[in-house]
Subunit: 396 residues, 2 copies
């Protein structure tokens, strides 16, 4: 075979295998797969072992991974549940987005970084990665408690708010322009509402017709066409493609055929998403952390990322009592995929430096790593107090 095709296949093999290998090993010591896969990328990437390098096709594969990931995140949202959400949940979500944003933004403004880097940093600190917290809560058997309900509900709103923030920052390739920020925000909110209100109604009509076609899995094909199509549409109007993929996920999130669709998407996710996280790790240059001021910045950003959610979400949940408020705050700390996506878009647009990229990755890794044990500690102390009461309906 051609030497170049061998090279591509070898890199695909190395990326996938290192990701899965580290994920399995990490699993043993309770490290989330996201982290293991990013670390795999750092390890085999050009800055460390140099086994693989970022090429155009790597980025194409990584982008497909991110699109499948966000489509799946959208697919997991329960919008009808969201409509019934209470004030506490809304408060936790909104305050928990505003506080970290301004902490990240403020820190970079004070340390004399550019305005656009400050905005990207704020944006990277916004979203909560609900998957990691949800798994820990499930392990502890406390998924039905008030605290868990508030965390999971708020994290869903955070995902949507995070997407709007992402839409706005991804349009800032030409520098900061407040008129543009306003118009893109309006556009993103409008686009979201349109998709959610009109898109789901259209799907309800289309679904029964699609089922009539016999061969293959036409519903899955249609879902992927819409996922890629909304990705392209988002891209064309100047916002990140994954926002479109996320909205496509929302459209399909509560259809009759969703369970079968999820099986297919999970298979795609298992195969494609590792390429995204590994590619993200590959772009991280650990060497920049050798510079004292960058390491200091990484430490400060991470600290503010933790405090931001702890204080912001804790304030939002003050009605639950301070102990539960802290549990909610800690549960919202992990940043996971959205933070990384914001950073990678900034890097792609050349609006953030390699240093800031590395700082964000460190922040994501640390917040994602410390939340699960902290959460366990907080819940285990409470556990002997007997079965927890089911959530009072006025709070939710």
């Amino acid at each position: 075979m051609e030497s170049h095709s061998v090279q591509i296949l070898t890199q695909i093999f190395l990326m996938f295998t290192s990701a899965k290998l580290l994920a399995v090993v990490g699993e043993r010591v309770k490290i989330p797969a996201v982290i293991s896969e990013i670390v795999a990328g750092i390890l085999i990437g050009p800055h460390l072992l140099g086994l693989v390098k970022a090429e155009e096709w790597t980025l194409a594969l990584a982008e497909l991974g991110a699109i499948v990931l966000l489509f799946d995140v959208g697919l997991d949202q329960k919008l009808t549940d969201l409509m019934k959400v209470g004030w506490t949940v809304l408060l936790v979500a909104v305050v928990g987005v505003v506080v970290p944003f301004f902490l990240g933004f403020g820190l970079l403004e004070l340390t004399e970084h550019s305005r656009i880097e400050a905005i990207f940093m704020g944006a990277a600190m916004v979203a909560t990665s609900v998957g990691i917290t949800a798994r820990v809560l499930q392990e502890l058997g406390v998924l039905k408690t008030v605290v868990a309900t508030v965390i999971l509900g708020a994290a869903v709103i955070d995902d949507i708010l995070g997407m709007i923030v992402l839409a706005v920052v991804s349009s800032l390739s030409e520098g900061v322009n407040y008129v543009q920020i306003g118009s893109v925000t309006a556009l993103a909110v409008g686009f979201t509402l349109f998709i959610v209100l009109v898109g789901r109604r259209v799907m309800r009509r289309v679904t029964p017709r699609v089922q009539r076609f016999a061969a293959g899995d036409p519903y899955f094909a249609l879902a992927m066409v819409i996922c890629l199509g909304l990705g392209v549409a988002a891209d064309k109007i100047g916002i990140a493609a994954i926002v479109g993929a996320f909205l496509a996920g929302l459209v399909f999130s509560e259809e009759e055929l969703t369970p079968r669709l999820k099986t297919n998407i999970h298979a795609l996710r298992e195969f494609l998403v590792p390429f995204f996280f590994v590619a993200m790790g590959m772009q991280m240059d650990l060497a920049v952390l050798a510079r004292k001021e960058i390491l200091l910045l990484a430490g400060l950003v991470t600290l503010l990322a933790i405090l931001g959610k702890l204080v912001g979400c804790g304030l939002g949940a003050y009605r639950l009592g301070w102990r539960s408020a802290i549990q909610v705050g800690v549960g919202m700390v992990p940043r996971g995929e959205v933070g990384i996506i914001v950073a990678s878009i900034g890097l792609g647009l050349h609006t953030i430096s390699n240093e800031i990229y590395a700082v964000v990755i460190i922040m994501v890794l640390v917040t994602t790593l410390i939340a699960p044990p902290a959460l366990k500690l907080l819940f285990v102390e409470k556990k002997p107090a007997g079965p927890l009461p089911s959530p009072p309906s006025d709070l939710l």
Copy 2:
């Protein structure tokens, strides 16, 4: 977003959507999806509409598609059934491979093409695409007849023989060398036996251990690691990567967890394989067919491809009576994916010209297109004669 990432995503969207759209439309008039997807590629490709062009990442995606396709083909083989196969099936398979090979080889030798092009043409005419015939037989409700059993059994052997032929031709990048052909044949046969005999035994031990890991789907991940790994290994020893993927499929074909694995692989296949067929269509330049001698060659090659299987397989099945022998022969006519893979490898190695590539694609399209209606015609006439007898065991 970056203009280049928009461009990649737009092309991914166009490739996938055109493939699925034409497949759905083709479905209505009973055209197999393989054909619709290749036609989609010809349409949107650089030689016609020019909406997409073959770039490095397109080929990377197409290669992943081919690997998943061949892994799935391997997964579908029933090796234990194969061991019990009768002489008729073996005869149909072997004569049905030898006759078309020498017809294709001979024609190109006679028309003064290079020796290596002649070998590639022979190789492209070897394999039977069982999927298309199997679906027609199923539609007709004759899957349990002697003829169907012979066709399906022989097609499996053809797949394996086709892979060995492919292994040999894909190693011929430096021109024809008979010593090399001998050694690669031995290597390919040895590799196949090793994988099938040792690989399956190893998997039987590994499978129960893998199941113990909780997160994600470790068995699916392991299967993909082995699939990509054997692909790379095959590549390194100088034979086509997809031969490795096919062998990996064989290793996993009769495990306890195979049904769940198949669900995952089918999802990957639905999403990734269209990129392969579309990319294959994109590389076809219809304009070369405007030259009379190329069109004539395409016609002759197609005719020989049909006659080769009809005569070769018919001879092999002579014991079943001439009517059944013709049915077997017609059932073995469609070439499908393996023919295309041989041609694409030849094109990639620059050992076959654009003209010969176009001729192979035409041959594959026509053989795949005419077999289903011909088969229906042959079976429908017979049908009113009442229920068909179940196959006598000495034949199979």
